[in-house]
């Protein structure tokens, strides 16, 4: 393997490694715009020019491959001066509209200017005028004047989404990103071009002007939009509810995971976060006929437990592949092992959807595989048995985790079944027909409000973190289960999700040898992959 010395630090790297990657390995900062580890090398921004011994010209670190004995210098006077001037070139025609630019605060022009620029402007000429506020498609806006023409977005649509909507029109300083005539940027992955745009040229229609990025906090999570389990970061704000009509989740961003989603996520997942802050069930409810009243959790558990106990085996439980492994495990112990309920069904709350050969899976649940590992399978045949049992009066009550059975089963049948039941418990985060007809409604947390693990379709067990606290009266399902159990004289001694997981590693084969704190891939922030110089959002927390 060739050995290279970068700024005095020696490292051995595999044949074909680019200097820019080798520099990263020894923590040397070679700034760049156009380079992206997930895309082909364009070599056009020229920010990463470095000095290579025995080569008269500066070389771009993103293209140059390491050769044995190569000596690279990234911080010589010549390199620093050149870098400063390249930045100056990039800013010659830039509108410098940071105060009204959505990218401000996470803009690589700003960051690099502070780090590598700091020159006085000497541009007294007029700037080239280009198109502004161009809608490229349903999700992305373009400001061509802010664009530095790094071509990352073009390469993304060519190489990753393979949809080829974008190109660069015109020449010289009149170059502009454009969609091809008659096309719009409308593919299942369009949002990624906003992530990889290092400047304010491409902004997300969904996020635009919602909140300045320095008010955002970030936490690692796992997308629950399908069984792929893309690693994401949840960007949120709790301190400025007036900025976004009380919404807490501001946007989702993909987080690098070499084995799952690399740097990307699909638009369906990216924009599928609205339900965390809309149409939520705000309090425990008790319903008798048309009379609905808010009651305390204590009263709710007492009354529900009384009905559940009375029903004995004459009840059915509807679990959901949206639940975490830990919750499914507790549900299994409680309902199957302790209460010996025979009618436990796994019902997906969502119909199968769009899939492709990249990240989108037809199964829109994050944990179908985990449910199977714990012993629950989606089985429509068995559901027919449930309907039969209802008709025969063998079911007194049902416990439903999140699904809208009116939608997932036959709506007409459900309307007949519901009045025959003595009671029904709905445990869910958002209102639907079930929450509007169940006799007990237990408000639960969404996945950003709790922690746990999902097993993705490939069998990878991934941890998602609690991003922020649940709404005041909402509880995580695992907490609801532990407490409900208490009223049913079943005592779990787990205090944390980790305790449940720990137990699963000895009880469920699929979890054997796993360690909870090792599941968290932790600090791999997409931007720390893409630009080592930019602090992860967590670091802004201190400023707040």
């Amino acid at each position: 393997m060739p050995k290279v010395t970068i700024d005095g630090k020696e490292i051995e790297v595999p044949q074909g490694t680019r200097v820019i990657e080798a520099a990263k390995m020894v923590n040397v900062d070679a700034p760049y715009y156009c380079y992206h580890p997930g895309l082909s090398v364009a070599g056009n921004c020229r920010m990463c020019l470095v000095e290579v011994e025995k080569m008269p010209k500066l070389q771009i670190a993103c293209h140059m491959q390491v050769q044995d004995g190569m000596v690279v210098c990234t911080n010589s006077e010549r390199v620093l001066k050149t870098r400063q001037h390249i930045l100056e070139f990039l800013l010659v025609n830039h509108p410098l509209d940071c105060p009204v630019c959505d990218q401000a605060g996470e803009c690589w022009l700003q960051d690099y200017y502070m780090k590598h620029g700091l020159y006085d402007s000497r541009v007294s000429e007029n700037k080239v005028k280009k198109h502004k506020a161009v809608s490229l498609g349903p999700t992305v806006m373009l400001d061509a004047e802010r664009c530095i023409l790094c071509s990352r977005c073009v390469r993304f649509t060519d190489e990753i989404s393979k949809t080829h909507e974008l190109g660069i029109a015109n020449r010289g300083d009149h170059c502009e990103i454009q969609t091809f005539p008659g096309k719009e940027l409308n593919n299942d992955y369009s949002g990624n071009v906003v992530d990889i745009c290092p400047v304010g040229a491409l902004t997300d229609k969904d996020f635009r002007f919602k909140m300045r990025v320095w008010y955002l906090q970030a936490k690692d999570s796992i997308c629950n939009g399908c069984s792929m389990g893309c690693n994401i970061q949840v960007h949120y704000n709790l301190d400025r509810p007036h900025h976004a009509k009380g919404e807490r989740v501001m946007r989702l961003k993909p987080r690098y995971n070499e084995h799952v989603n690399q740097w990307w996520m699909c638009d369906e997942g990216r924009y599928g976060y609205k339900y965390h802050d809309h149409n939520r069930i705000l309090a425990p409810l008790k319903r008798a006929q048309a009379d609905v009243q808010e009651i305390s959790w204590d009263e709710l558990f007492t009354e529900a437990a009384r009905d559940i106990s009375a029903a004995g085996s004459k009840m059915a439980v509807f679990l959901s592949p949206q639940l975490s492994n830990e919750e499914l495990y507790l549900a299994r112990i409680l309902f199957r092992e302790k209460l010996e309920c025979r009618n436990i069904f796994l019902v997906s709350p969502k119909a199968d959807g769009k899939s492709d050969d990249f990240l989108m899976k037809a199964d829109k649940n994050p944990n179908t595989r985990g449910a199977a590992d714990i012993g629950f399978k989606v089985d429509p045949k068995r559901l027919e048995g449930f309907q039969e049992a209802c008709e025969k009066g063998q079911i007194e009550g049902i416990i439903v985790f999140g699904q809208d059975l009116f939608e997932r089963l036959n709506a007409g049948q459900m309307q007949q079944i519901m009045p025959r039941l003595k009671w029904s418990v709905f445990i869910g985060s958002n209102h639907n027909l079930m929450s509007e007809s169940a006799s007990y409604v237990m408000p639960s947390a969404t996945y950003v409000e709790k922690e746990g693990t999902f097993t993705n379709c490939e069998g990878k067990v991934q941890k998602f973190n609690k991003v922020f606290n649940p709404l005041p009266h909402a509880w995580s399902e695992w907490k609801i289960l532990i407490n409900l159990a208490k009223y049913l004289d079943v005592y779990f001694d787990h205090e944390e999700v980790e305790d449940i997981f720990e137990e699963m590693t000895s009880q469920v084969a699929a979890f054997k040898n796993l360690k909870y704190d090792e599941l968290d891939r932790g600090k791999s922030d997409i931007r720390s992959m893409a630009a080592p110089t930019i602090p992860a959002l967590e670091q802004y927390d201190n400023i707040l």
């Binding site: 090398v41 364009a42 070599g43 056009n44 921004c45 020229r46 020019l49 010209k57 500066l58 293209h63 001066k81 050149t82 001037h85 390249i86 070139f89 990039l90 010659v92 025609n93 000497r122 541009v123 007294s124 000429e125 007029n126 080239v128 530095i148 023409l149 190109g167 660069i168 015109n170 020449r171 010289g172 300083d173 009149h174 170059c175």
Partner: protein
């Protein structure tokens, strides 16, 4: 001085295939087929010291020897007939007057490099040369000089003529390849070099029209003879395109290494109206400018480089004493700003910025810091990009204000040109 290529430059005449054959044409390729193999042919070209006459001056035989023959892919020959360097019009002469000389040269190069398909990328504006070329290619096919099994010797060659759309950058060899492949003309990152990964991903030889057109002479009269015509390591003759303020502008075929003074005063008849010479661009617009007292330089690749300029495409642009250097630099920089492909930031933003600064100076708004800034911008525009366009822009941008400092300072201070009754090119 003996004329080689230029003996065919008869005004208004295009040599047909029969006329060309009657003049001894297509003898060289027969000699090649009968007496030479690829290796000995490459050796001959190496010995002739034939340099790449498109501008870079890379030794032709050495270039050919880089082409890998064992990749399992076809090797292509691409003929650069884009001739976009301002001040250069020699290839147009060759193609217009004697296209068969080029075709014969292509056949020789194809044989040397085991090529069976050649592409001629001709500048879009060259309408009549294009017609002459297509006619000649058709003639050659009709006579069995192109196609399969030429002269019954088992060697086949097809030629495709492709018209560009007028972009200067498509004369840069990898920009040309991109354009030929149907993409935007944007130079490629190197390595890999076209010799290894060129047109459609295959090994590719790229030669200029003029370079190829000298091959038949080298075969017919010997490599040593050709080498002896020029100066040290600069074999043969080349076609100098002389334009600007001379009495007899035109294409002159002269040995490499001939003094610039001789070209201007002996061959081009001196300066119009017998004015004083002010400056000369020796090798196409991208070459650094020379002052009147620097014209005793020998016009070959190595001697001009020693003078911090370049032989380039041998486009000699002569400017007399009535030329305003500020305005002529403005016109020059407008060209680069217009032709930059826009890929690399220093070139994309730099060429336009420089042009706007010069526009401001030329309209009387110059500032005392301008020259310093221009020189600084220039230092970081050159040598920092994928291709040589920005280097080409940097050469005049550095040399004009350096060599005519007084004139630039005057313009900036007074808001008008030092040249009172300027008859300079209009800006």
């Amino acid at each position: 001085m003996e004329k080689l290529i230029s003996k065919y430059f008869v005004p208004g005449k295009t040599f047909s295939i029969d006329e060309y054959i009657a003049d001894g044409g297509y003898q060289a390729i027969r000699t090649v087929f009968e007496k030479l193999d690829s290796a000995s042919l490459i050796e001959t070209v190496k010995k002739s010291n034939l340099r790449g006459l498109g501008g870079a001056g890379f030794p032709c035989g050495i270039k050919w020897s880089f082409v890998p023959q064992n990749t399992g892919k076809p090797v292509y020959l691409v003929v650069n007939a884009d001739e976009g360097e301002p001040g250069t019009f020699k290839d147009k002469y060759i193609i217009s007057h004697v296209p068969h000389l080029l075709i014969e040269g292509i056949m020789i190069a194809a044989f040397a490099n085991n090529v069976h398909k050649a592409f001629i990328y001709i500048r879009g504006e060259y309408t009549r040369p294009y017609q002459a070329l297509v006619k000649a290619v058709n003639e050659a096919y009709e006579k069995g000089y192109l196609g399969k099994n030429i002269f019954g010797k088992g060697f086949g060659l097809d030629i495709v003529v492709h018209r560009g759309a007028g972009a200067y950058i498509c004369g840069e060899e990898t920009g040309l390849l991109e354009s030929l492949e149907g993409k935007q003309g944007r130079p490629r990152l190197k390595p890999p070099f076209p010799a290894v990964v060129g047109l459609f991903g295959c090994p590719t030889v790229i030669n200029n029209v003029e370079t190829l057109s000298y091959l038949p002479f080298i075969i017919n009269r010997g490599a040593e003879w050709f080498a002896s015509l020029g100066s040290d390591k600069n074999g043969g003759m080349r076609l100098f395109s002389v334009s600007g303020h001379v009495k007899k502008p035109g294409v002159y075929e002269l040995p490499l290494g001939i003094p610039l003074r001789e070209i201007i005063y002996t061959y081009a008849g001196g300066i119009r109206d017998d004015r004083r010479l002010k400056a000369v661009v020796p090798g196409g617009l991208s070459a650094a400018i020379l002052k009147a007292d620097e014209i005793d330089v020998g016009m070959d690749f190595d001697q001009l480089r020693a003078k911090q300029t370049m032989a380039g495409s041998a486009g000699v642009i002569v400017m007399d004493e009535k030329t305003c250097m500020v305005r002529s630099l403005l016109v020059t920089m407008r060209f680069y700003a217009h032709e930059s492909c826009g890929q690399c930031s220093p070139c994309r933003e730099g060429t336009g910025w420089v042009h706007r600064i010069l526009e401001r100076i030329a309209s009387g708004g110059g500032k005392s810091k301008d020259l310093e800034n221009l020189s600084d911008i220039c230092s970081f525009m050159g040598g920092t990009t994928i291709c040589a366009l920005a280097d080409g822009a940097a050469m005049p941008l550095r040399s004009y204000p350096q060599k005519f400092k007084e004139e630039f300072e005057y313009f900036i201070r007074h808001g008008k040109s030092m040249i009172e009754q300027g008859e300079e090119v209009s800006a």
